[in-house]
Structures are given as structure tokens and as C-alpha cells.
């Protein structure tokens, strides 16, 4: 038996990632770049929301987008269409991004001159929530057709987010989505969560979201 060594690790699987994430945040602080991690289920409207937001703020700050949601290049192209710099990260089919992959993306992208970078994370509500990407703030999108009980089904992602964007409010009349309930459930998980109901399609509510983002960027660059 003594040819075997027993290494007591007793460490969270994510311990190393958490350290990498802190390092990346320090780098971002240094260069004055605000990184937003955007999470949601597939199809909640991450790309559409980004386009609506970027149209409104791209003339006010320098902004770029890193697309990690499945290697298709379609989302990156959609962002470039509105004149915003973007890259597609090749995640090799991984179900989430970790801080190391995010840092590689940030450095490859060349972000020194950017005030804000948005990371469109892989569409999945489970493991992106467990891996700190090194982002300054975390946002998630819940869309009306997904239902108001998501905070009960996927509690972790609601606890790690700073803001919850409720998208597709234009289709509220067709679903039994209860806005008061979703706020109650979400605040049960995270009393500090800020909630922005929007329609990326009609633009309703998007200005408030933009104001919040611009405030955060200014705060980070202080």
C-alpha cells in the first residue's frame, strides 16, 4: 500500500476558477473595462436584447461582445451587423465558460480600448451559474414564455445575478405569466436582485436597462 500517496485536497472544485476570476477582474479594473456576463436558456433573447441595448449605447461608450453560445458565428455576425465589434469564442461544445476561457477571449479580442465587454454565455441555466467568469456583474434573461416559476427550478443562477431581465413582455397577453410572482420568487432567492421587464422586440423598458449599464460602467472606471 505504501507506494500510494493520499493527497488530501478538501477544496471546492471551483476554488481555482474563483482565483482565476479574481485575477481577471483585477486586470479589467486596471484597464478600465467593465465585463457583463449574460446568461439565459437558449432562445430567451440574449442576442436580440444585446442588439437593442447596443444600438442605444454604442455611440456613448466603446463596447464589444464575446459570443460563447454554441460555435455558430451567427450571433457574432448579428452583432457586427449593427457596427459593434464582436468575436465568437470557440468553446468546443462546453456547457459553460470558466474564468480561464474568458480571460483568453478577453486577451485575444484586444479589449484595452473598450469601456464595456458583454459576454453572451452558453445558453443554459445550470453550470454557467457555478463558474465565476471574472465578470464585474452578472445578468440573466428570463423570457415570458418560459414561465414565472423558473426561480424555483433554477435557484442558483438567481442568487449569483445582479440583475434579472424579463424579456418578451410584448407577448404577456398570450401567456399566464405572473410578473408579481416572478418578482416574489426571485427576491426569495436574492433580495438585492434588480428586475428589468423589457421587450427587445418593441424596445419597451430597454432605456432603463441601458441607464443601469452606463451607470455601472462609470462606477467601474472610477
Amino acid at each position: 500500500m505504501d507506494k500510494y500517496k493520499v493527497i488530501e485536497v478538501k477544496e471546492s472544485i471551483f476554488a481555482d476558477n474563483d482565483k482565476d476570476a479574481d485575477k481577471l477582474r483585477a486586470q479589467l479594473k486596471e484597464q478600465g473595462t467593465f465585463l457583463l456576463n449574460l446568461m439565459s436558456s437558449p432562445g430567451s433573447g440574449k442576442t436580440t436584447t444585446l442588439k437593442a441595448v447596443l444600438e442605444r449605447i454604442k455611440d456613448k461608450i466603446n463596447v464589444g461582445v464575446m459570443e460563447a453560445d454554441i460555435d455558430s458565428d451567427v450571433d457574432a455576425a448579428a452583432i457586427q451587423d449593427i457596427g459593434v465589434r464582436s468575436i465568437q469564442l470557440h468553446t468546443g461544445g462546453m456547457c459553460h465558460l470558466d474564468a480561464d476561457m474568458t480571460r483568453q477571449g478577453i486577451n485575444e479580442f484586444g479589449t484595452d480600448d473598450l469601456d464595456m465587454v458583454v459576454l453572451e454565455n452558453v445558453g443554459n441555466l445550470v453550470c454557467p451559474a457555478e463558474f465565476d467568469t471574472g465578470a464585474v456583474k452578472n445578468a440573466m434573461i428570463l423570457s415570458v414564455p418560459e414561465g414565472h416559476d423558473k426561480p424555483l427550478k433554477y435557484p442558483l443562477v438567481f442568487t449569483v445575478c445582479d440583475i434579472l431581465i424579463i424579456n418578451k413582455i410584448d407577448v404577456m397577453p398570450y401567456f399566464d405569466f405572473d410578473m408579481a410572482k416572478v418578482e416574489e420568487y426571485a427576491h426569495m432567492r436574492n433580495p438585492d436582485l434588480k428586475i428589468f421587464p423589457i421587450s427587445a422586440k418593441t424596445g419597451e423598458g430597454v432605456d432603463a436597462l441601458c441607464d443601469w449599464l452606463l451607470e455601472q460602467v462609470a462606477e467601474w472606471k472610477k
Binding site: Y4, K5, S12, D16, C127
Partner: protein
């Protein structure tokens, strides 16, 4: 598919620890999971067995066994200041019936130990 992401991450961590501790062949890796961590350990083992056979991991980990232990989930009641097992009673305190309760622990995902040459 969440489990595959975790396996990938654990392998990365173990490979790093192997370099630091000069390990050449890993016999077993033991993980600890909180009862409400949301991980399905049997999937982890299945993915592990497949993943470690890949060329780039096989020399160190090819014959290794993934083991796991469960850590109990405990909920704290803000109303009566009591603690109770989460899995059995959920969000409602069995002592006072309050719903003002918070998970104390049970979401852990740890690497406990590595046995290796």
C-alpha cells in the same frame, strides 16, 4: 450535460495537482457533493470513465476510479433559529412551520482526496 463540464474541470484540477505533487498514476479521485448540489453522481462516473481514456489524459488517469461521498444539506430557520435536514422537510421549518428559511449547506462540490503513485 452539466456533469461532463464538471468532469472536465475535475480532470484539469487533478492534472494540476499531479504536477505539483509529482504524481505519475492516479488510482482514485474522491469527490464530495452536497445533497442539493444538483449533480447526478452516476452520470459523473460514466463520463469520467469515458473521459479519462482520452489520449491526453490516459497516462495519468486512464485506470483511475472516481468515487463520491454525499454531504448532508441543512436548512436554517430564521424564525425559531433551528436547523433541520433540507431534503426531508424542504422550505418549511418542521419545528415552527415558518417559511423564513435559508439553506446553510448542501451545495458543496469538493475534491476530497486523490490516491496516486
Amino acid at each position: 450535460m452539466h456533469e461532463l463540464g464538471i468532469v472536465n474541470y475535475v480532470v484539469k484540477q487533478v492534472e494540476k495537482l499531479a504536477v505539483e505533487n509529482e504524481l505519475t498514476r492516479v488510482e482514485s479521485v474522491t469527490l464530495e457533493f452536497g445533497e442539493v448540489s444538483g449533480v447526478v453522481p452516476s452520470y459523473l462516473v460514466k463520463y469520467w470513465d469515458w473521459y479519462v481514456k482520452k489520449e491526453e489524459h490516459a497516462a495519468l488517469l486512464g485506470d483511475s476510479v472516481l468515487k463520491y461521498e454525499t454531504l448532508p444539506a441543512i436548512t436554517w430557520c430564521d424564525n425559531c433559529k433551528g436547523q433541520y435536514p433540507t431534503v426531508q422537510y424542504g422550505k418549511t421549518c418542521p419545528y415552527c412551520g415558518s417559511g423564513e428559511t435559508w439553506l446553510l449547506k448542501g451545495q458543496e462540490m469538493n475534491i476530497k482526496e486523490i490516491v496516486a503513485e
